[in-house]
């Protein structure tokens, strides 16, 4: 769980390893001195906003982009200069890239066909894969005759038929509607559990990353911001970028003054003058101000006169989502989002108090790093 370009080492045996890789396009650096290890059999998600370099990183592992500097290892073999087909990996593209003039069977068996495998072997393998993905009845159809979910399964089948060392997924669910995305997410998780093959998954959707991956790599402007399990990232973000990126609705941030700090907790003065405590891992006594981050579910609506209320304010908007309620409250710290229970009875314009769950508050320094 270290930040920046520091070495990230997994506990299990490394399967895919990037050592100090850099990718430049002319004068633009897309990936900068990045080191990453992906464990064998793990499901690793590369997560970050558009333009953070996650797809570039995946394409470098695939061999579709040349590495400007550094090395890429797969199963201990330096594959930096090997063509994609010789890296024993398979990739599923965002657009599926199914050949429109071929049937599902021909699409799935394409890699075997170009390798000169006998027709009998091709058909047998295609059928085997189709069974795993429940595509047997669609084998003679063309991609245009399939639904989005079926096309996605064919794309996975095309990867599966090669029995690769690792699967690479480049935002494979982004072309599907919300309902189908949830369904395919479950199917991918099941596939990973069944196959136990290393999977590296690029997404900008934190829900996909959180639900599928056992390790998430958060990228920001071509460098690793944090690596960890989904809950690590959620509960203990290494910096403000990760804290803001993970979680929906996003974390609330506001400036606070630091009254005292002792290495485990900091006494802070909130906007409006109320005092509180927040956990810290630093004893830098000279710190006088910081930014406090609080997730919406760690702010609790209370009576405005409640002694535990650290903020008071007027409710601006209420969003009932069924299983939860989002309340936007104007306070001395700005507009804060509060997440309450689904049946929360609160109205727009009402004056409320907010209690802070101090245990889950995060303090960030001037550089954005967690204190």
């Amino acid at each position: 769980m270290s930040a920046g370009a520091a070495e990230i080492v997994g506990a299990a045996s490394p399967h895919v390893e990037l050592r100090r890789v850099t990718k430049r396009y002319g004068s633009v650096t897309a990936i900068s001195d990045l080191t990453l290890t992906v464990d064998k059999g793990s499901f690793t998600a590369l997560l970050g906003p558009s333009g953070c370099g996650k797809s570039t990183l995946l394409r470098m592992i695939a061999g579709l982009e040349a590495i400007t500097a550094g090395q890429c290892f797969i199963d201990g073999v330096d594959v930096s200069d090997l063509p994609p087909a010789k890296r024993r990996i398979a990739m599923v593209f965002q657009s599926y890239a199914l050949y429109p003039h071929m049937t599902v069977r021909q699409n799935i068996a394409f890699s075997l066909s170009v390798a000169g495998q006998p027709k009998k072997v091709q058909n047998a393998r295609a059928l085997e894969v189709a069974r795993v993905l429940q595509l047997e009845s669609y084998l003679d159809r063309r991609p245009a005759e399939l639904s989005g979910g079926q096309r996605q399964r064919v794309a996975i089948g095309r990867a599966l038929v090669r029995k690769p060392e690792a699967f690479l997924f480049d935002e494979p669910l982004s072309n599907l509607d919300a309902k189908l995305r949830v369904q395919m997410r479950l199917e991918l998780a099941k596939l990973h559990a069944d196959l136990g093959t290393t999977m590296i998954y690029v997404t900008h959707d934190q829900t996909e990353a959180m639900t599928l991956a056992d390790k998430i790599v958060v990228l920001d402007k071509g460098v690793i911001s944090q690596v960890g399990s989904p809950l690590d990232l959620y509960n203990a973000p290494a910096n403000k970028f990760v804290a803001a990126f993970i979680g929906s609705p996003g974390m609330n941030f506001f400036k606070v003054d630091i009254a005292a700090i002792d290495g485990k907790a900091a006494s802070i003065v909130l906007p409006g003058g109320q005092k509180a405590e927040a956990p810290v891992r630093t004893d830098a006594a000279d710190l006088r101000s910081a930014e406090l981050g609080v997730r919406p579910e760690h702010l609790i609506l209370v009576d405005p006169d409640d002694a535990a209320a650290v903020f008071g304010g007027a409710v601006r908007i209420v969003e009932h989502l069924g299983n939860s309620t989002l309340v936007y409250v104007d306070t001395a710290a700005g507009q804060l989002i509060v997440e309450g229970e689904g049946n929360l009875k609160v109205k727009s314009g009402e004056t409320v108090g907010l209690k802070l769950n101090e245990e889950h508050a995060h303090l960030f320094g001037a550089t954005g790093a967690t204190l």
């Binding site: 994609p84 990996i89 990739m91 593209f93 890239a97 394409f110 170009v114 095309r158």
Partner: protein, 296 residues
């Protein structure tokens, strides 16, 4: 009551205006149709005249005056052409050279278009500009050069000599390049991940994905090669190696030109192209549009 009448007038008035507009449109449409019809008659008349002439005796043909239908209907011209000339050879030669030109042009132009569109190699831009430049030079301007080259290669009076210069098809390369440029790169990358080499990419992914373009280009290339006259006329002097278009020049009798027989060969020469055109009408139009798009 008066209100109802007024309302009826109000509603009737726009309807009447619409009707008047429709009448005007009908008149314009009628005029356009008439002009088109006259144009079609002017265009089709030589064809009709040629066809009718083949069924006339020679004395009827040369007789002064306008005779739109044969006085004495005869197949003599066709019988003579089919039995007394080497039309069989000419047909076969035309077929061989046209098919060869079509197959080779499609393969070579697709390969060149693919290379320029998809591969990264030194001189790629230079080749592209050269191809763009070459189609600005009219083929007849190069015909002497072609003759010298083919002659020095010893291919005069051979079918290979007839085919050779027809393989220069820059427009076809440009069309292919444009189509290959528009294929999303994910297909190429997916195939590369699957281990496909460039030949497999071209012949198993890019060409089949643009099959419509290939069909259209093949048809128009075939028709062009079949109809070509100038180059085969210069490259071949032996009657056995002539194409059908050149063979027409060999049909005459003791008194000189025989219009009926010449036109009979012309009709027989045009027959395969007419059949191809009728069957693949839409594809031919598509190909012409593609070429027109390039030529601007």
């Amino acid at each position: 009551m008066s209100a109802t009448v007024q309302r009826l007038e109000v509603t009737a008035s726009p309807a009447a205006a619409r009707l008047a507009r429709l009448n005007r449109l009908d008149t314009v449409g009628l005029l356009i149709t008439l002009v088109t019809l006259v144009g079609a008659i002017i265009w089709a008349f030589p064809l009709y005249w040629g066809l009718v002439t083949t069924f006339k005796h020679e004395y009827e043909i040369v007789r002064p005056g306008f005779q739109p239908w044969p006085e004495h209907f005869t197949f003599e011209n066709y019988v003579h052409v089919l039995l007394q000339t080497k039309i069989g050879y000419w047909y076969i030669n035309s077929l061989i050279t046209s098919v060869a030109v079509t197959v080779l042009v499609v393969i070579m132009a697709a390969s060149a278009g693919y290379a320029i569109s998809q591969l990264d190699f030194p001189g790629r831009r230079f080749f592209w500009w050269m191809i763009l430049g070459s189609f600005m030079v009219p083929i007849p301007a190069l015909i002497v050069t072609h003759f010298i080259v083919i002659s020095q290669l010893g291919l005069i009076n051979t079918l290979a000599g007839v085919v050779g210069p027809q393989l220069i098809a820059p427009v076809t390369v440009i069309i292919y390049k444009q189509f290959f440029d528009s294929v999303p790169k994910d297909f190429r990358e997916a195939a590369a991940m699957d281990g496909a080499n460039d030949f497999q990419l071209l012949f198993r992914i890019y060409l089949p994905m643009n099959w419509g373009v290939t069909t259209a280009l093949a048809i128009i290339t075939f028709i062009g090669a079949w109809n070509l006259f100038l180059w085969p006329f210069l490259a071949v002097s032996s009657e056995d190696k002539m194409n059908i278009t050149v063979g027409i020049t060999q049909v005459h009798d003791n008194y000189g030109i025989s219009y009926g027989r010449d036109l009979a060969v012309a009709m027989l020469a045009a027959l395969p192209v007419a059949v191809v055109y009728l069957i693949f009408q839409r594809r031919v139009t598509q190909a012409i549009m593609l070429s027109a798009g390039i030529k601007g």
